[in-house]
Amino acid sequence: MEELILKLKNEIIEVLNLEDIKPEDIDANAPLFGEGLGLDSIDALELIVLMEKTYGIKIKDPNEGKDIFKSVAAMADYISKHRTK
């Protein structure tokens, strides 16, 4: 799981253009939205694309997103259980 969390942090930094932020700056359990990294709605859409493109996960129920994108650790947990690639 630690390996997946680190990979995910690097992918988030890349797809969201989080310049000057390093993987170690991201608390895996900190909220991704509102506080923490302070991501916005466009970032949320980009994370949904990341899930599908990299891990083959299609998020169909918008209500699921709140829990899946709660933190990097929550994303990693969901990916490990649902990934198709």
Binding site: V15, N17, E19
Partner: protein
């Protein structure tokens, strides 16, 4: 007395033939040193602005216009004033949002890897730039992005004149912001006020002179 009070010129042209990239940054005629062409806009942002992380999410056109507007407005030295509806942002170019359009196209060209990027899609309109500048500076006057067939001083002077038909408008942040890629762009941004009305030919000649 010049109609254009403050202006900034940024040009960058990097060829794919391995030659030395050429760039130029001048503010009110004074040269601004930068590290190099490859990361020109990011270097200027880090060295001279640095308090707006959204810069990193912008497409090349917005990065260019944003950096130039920040340097220009710092030179004007009226950042503390509340301009509200008295200042507008009217920009011109020929390439529209081509630099970002190309990047977005890359995300949708392969039917087997069709993953449209939301963050690229939102910049596939040039007038996002006028909005970025207006939001950043709380300008509530006219915002417009006019795409022309080519650089045309007369058309620009006319567009500026028409903007001032809004009687609340007192000044404009305006000019040419043309961007083809991260390392190929041409900008002439300047500030004018309502005294340009009726003096369009004079304005046209001033733009021509600064664009050389």
């Amino acid at each position: 007395m010049s109609l254009i009070k403050h202006y900034i010129r940024i040009k960058c042209s990097k060829t794919c033939y391995g030659g030395i990239p050429e760039y130029q940054v001048t503010l009110d005629g004074e040269k601004i040193e930068a590290a190099g062409a490859d990361t020109l806009l990011t270097d200027l942002y880090k060295a001279r602005i640095g308090d707006y992380p959204k810069f990193y999410k912008m497409d090349p056109l917005c990065r260019l216009g944003f950096v130039a507007s920040e340097l220009l407005l710092n030179a004007e030295n009226r950042r503390e004033e509340q301009f509200g509806e008295s200042r507008g942002v009217v920009l011109f170019n020929a390439a529209s949002s081509l630099a970002d359009d190309r990047n977005y196209q890359e995300t949708i060209k392969d039917p087997d890897a069709f993953f449209p990027s939301p963050s690229l899609f939102v910049y596939t309109l040039p007038n996002v730039l006028t909005g970025e500048i207006a939001i950043r500076n709380h300008y509530y006057g006219e915002t417009n992005f006019i795409v022309l067939p080519h650089f045309d001083c007369a058309a620009m002077a006319d567009g500026i004149r028409m903007s001032f038909t809004d009687r609340d408008l007192r000044s404009l942040l305006t000019g040419w912001v043309d961007c083809y890629s991260e390392t190929s762009f041409d900008l002439l941004l300047f500030l004018v006020d309502s005294e340009v009305v009726g003096r369009e030919v004079e304005l046209q000649h001033e733009i021509e002179k600064l664009a050389k």
